[in-house]
């Protein structure tokens, strides 16, 4: 003691307390860096030339292959034109040329950060068309809910991690990815794959929960809550993070609705709408959870909404694990679900069902349905137009990222170039889903 090799005692920098308001009580105060579209008066007589800057499609902050053509006046954006389609694979065309079951693996590749949720959304749409959505056994519905919530946590962890990384907080990224790894482990033991899960089937699931999965999931739930707490302490009062996100990218309630935003981006703008509450599907009605909403609609609000949504997902997961019923996971109808193998090999009727199911697909009635699903990124909808038989006549994927990104050309002008990374990070989009 007594030594002070780094000369710490001589002069301690003054620690300033940053003011922190609760999300509910915050109001929008104009920020110095924001409304600067018109040039300041003293520089008005100087001749200025606008510059066109091309951001993306390969840029770390565009999280995939989004290209934005920016028109700049100094550092201020005066015009932004998003350019998408670099990951277009023609999923909708492909769907018209295969059976309903064959399309399930393609849904993994839509929002590839939450493949389980896409699987569930797609089969629910097909089941709605078939009219068997009310016959699903309770165990199947509970497992599907757990899949959706795990996918939500996984997607939000990545969204927050990369958001933090984009605005300069690299630690958060490493932190949340540790937890995502555990979700991948859970996925692997559940589905056999870490990434491309293809877990659901029309009328059920590809397999039941493996032994010990419930305990593993419970352990994960307890750990992830701690991780979320830590993530919050790293970001929520972080001076740099708050300065770079607060009051930026403000979307009013009216604009959010007009531009068709959905998911956390919509709720961040103060619209209390969650399809799990307003259009309840599966067994969401039985669970107790809250829908967080923002008050201002800036990047910081969207961040807070995601943090809270993860906590609510953990709440739902706990309730699922506590009440998980036993019983079958598939609809007891051999015309929809493949019959068990031992019966296929010993009985004529089951053999025929198996053969028809595999070669022609399930026999869907003619008609059209739209099924909206609360995905981590927003409202993922499948519109299926059927003329009967095992193949959709037209399948349209209403992807949340596609619609959410359309507001960029309205939102970006007036901001600085460096604000783009914060705004894109707070939007949490996936180009695989946007371009389909």
């Amino acid at each position: 003691m007594g030594r002070d090799p780094w000369n710490l005692k001589t002069k301690m920098p003054e620690i300033r307390e940053i003011e922190f308001q609760d999300a509910a009580t915050r109001t929008l105060e104009p920020k110095a860096s924001m409304p600067a579209v018109e040039p300041s008066s003293e520089g008005a007589d100087l001749p200025s030339e606008k510059m066109v800057l091309n951001m993306g499609p390969s840029h770390p902050a565009t999280h995939g292959v989004l290209r934005i053509v920016l028109e700049l006046d100094g550092e201020i954006i005066t015009k932004a034109v998003p350019d998408i389609g670099f990951l277009h694979r023609g999923d909708e065309k492909l769907a018209e040329n295969m059976t309903y079951t064959q399309f399930i693996p393609y849904t993994d590749r839509l929002d590839y950060l939450a493949p389980l949720a896409n699987n569930v959304a797609y089969v629910l749409a097909v089941e709605k068309l078939m009219g068997i959505d009310k016959q699903l056994p309770p165990r199947c519905q509970f497992i599907r809910v757990m899949c959706c919530e795990l996918a939500r946590i996984s997607s939000h962890l990545l969204g927050l991690g990369s958001f933090g990384m984009d605005v300069g907080a690299l630690t958060v990224f490493l932190h949340t990815f540790t937890e995502r790894e555990k979700i991948y482990n859970l996925c692997e033991s559940l589905t056999g794959a870490r990434f491309t899960t293809s877990y659901t089937r029309i009328g059920g699931l590809s397999r039941d929960l493996p032994a010990g999965w419930v305990e593993q999931c419970r352990k994960f739930c307890n750990e992830v809550v701690r991780n979320i707490e830590e993530t919050e302490t790293l970001l929520s009062r972080n001076r740099i993070f708050v300065d770079r996100t607060r009051g930026l990218g403000v979307i009013s309630k009216e604009d959010a609705i007009d531009y068709g935003l959905s998911g956390p981006n919509l709720r961040g703008s103060g619209v209390e709408h969650d399809l799990r509450k307003t259009q309840p599907y599966l067994v969401y009605e039985q669970f107790d959870f809250d829908v967080p909403v923002g008050s201002v609609g800036d990047c910081y609000d969207r961040y807070l909404v995601r943090i809270e949504e993860m906590r609510q997902s953990v709440r739902i997961l706990h309730q699922c694990l506590d009440r998980l019923p036993s019983g079958p996971v598939n609809v007891q109808d051999s015309k929809v679900v493949l019959p068990p193998k031992d019966r296929v090999l010993t009985r004529m009727e089951e053999l025929i069902h198996h053969f028809i199911n595999v070669t022609q697909g399930v026999n869907a009635p003619p008609g059209e349905v739209y099924f909206p699903h609360e995905n981590p990124k927003g409202e993922l909808g499948f519109y299926i137009n059927s003329k009967g038989g095992g193949t959709p006549y037209r399948l349209k994927i209403r992807s949340p990222s596609f619609v959410n990104l359309s507001i960029l050309s309205k939102l970006l002008p007036g901001h600085m170039v460096s604000d783009i990374v914060a705004i894109l990070g707070s939007f949490d989009f996936v180009m695989g889903e946007c371009d389909r």
Binding site: G85, G260, G367, Y370, Y383, N385, K396, S406
Partner: protein, 224 residues
């Protein structure tokens, strides 16, 4: 208020322009008889019936029928939490419908996508360009007469000064080549594309000659 009641209100206001509401799996569909009226119907639905959220616009190609295209609008209201589907037909000769970007701004990208994929134009759209395919792409890929295997277009080839090390090698797949057909029987090759395909095989042979190697499949026969 149920979706059916809302649809009936809409029907009561517009009369013969709309069909009777059709209900299937709890969803209500209204058919708009004249495509030109769609924006008026949408304005009324938004302002009077509270459908403030346009979920989606989709197009369907009824290939071989007249009218050829169907547009599908999905509306939703944040107050009453009900969905409503509006449908209308448009013939291939006309292929032009009024835009609803003035009603909901989210319609902008949906309409651009329909133009890109199906070739239906929107009158009054502020910026009707291709969105997923590149500017200048000559086809509309979601039409039913567009083959799954794709069509060749006038995209200029990427200019290489020398062939890539494994060009034409054992791991190169030519779309629609014989090896592809044996793996995926559903692949479709329109007759017109066989010429292009053979030209590509020829080009690959040229590369082989330059390298002195022989790999891969030979020319393709047109498959009908």
């Amino acid at each position: 208020m149920t979706a059916l009641a809302l649809a009936k209100q809409l029907k009561a206001h517009f009369g013969d322009w709309l069909s009777e509401p059709i209900e299937f799996r709890g969803e209500v569909t209204l058919l708009v008889s004249d495509m030109e009226r769609i924006s008026q119907v949408c304005v009324f639905a938004k302002t009077q019936l509270g459908f403030d959220y346009l979920v989606d616009i989709t197009s369907i190609d009824n290939y071989g029928e007249d009218p050829r295209f169907t547009l599908v609008y999905h509306l939703y209201g944040y107050q009453h939490l009900r969905y409503l589907r509006l449908k209308s037909h448009i013939s291939e000769e006309k292929s032009e419908v009024p835009t609803v970007t003035g009603v909901w701004r989210t319609a902008d990208w949906h309409e651009r996508e329909i133009y890109d994929m199906m070739g239906v134009r929107f009158r009054g759209h502020p910026d009707l360009r291709r969105i997923l395919m590149w500017e200048g792409y000559p086809y509309f890929p979601l039409r039913k007469d567009f083959p799954l295997a794709g069509k060749s277009s006038e995209m200029p080839e990427v200019a290489f000064s020398a062939p890539a090390p494994m060009a034409g090698g054992p791991f190169v797949t030519i779309a629609g080549g014989k090896d592809t057909i044996s793996r995926e029987p559903r692949v479709r090759i329109p007759e017109t594309d066989a010429l292009e395909m053979n030209a590509r095989v020829q080009r690959r042979d040229d590369i082989k000659e330059a390298h002195g190697r022989a790999h891969g499949p030979g020319p393709v026969e047109p498959k009908n």
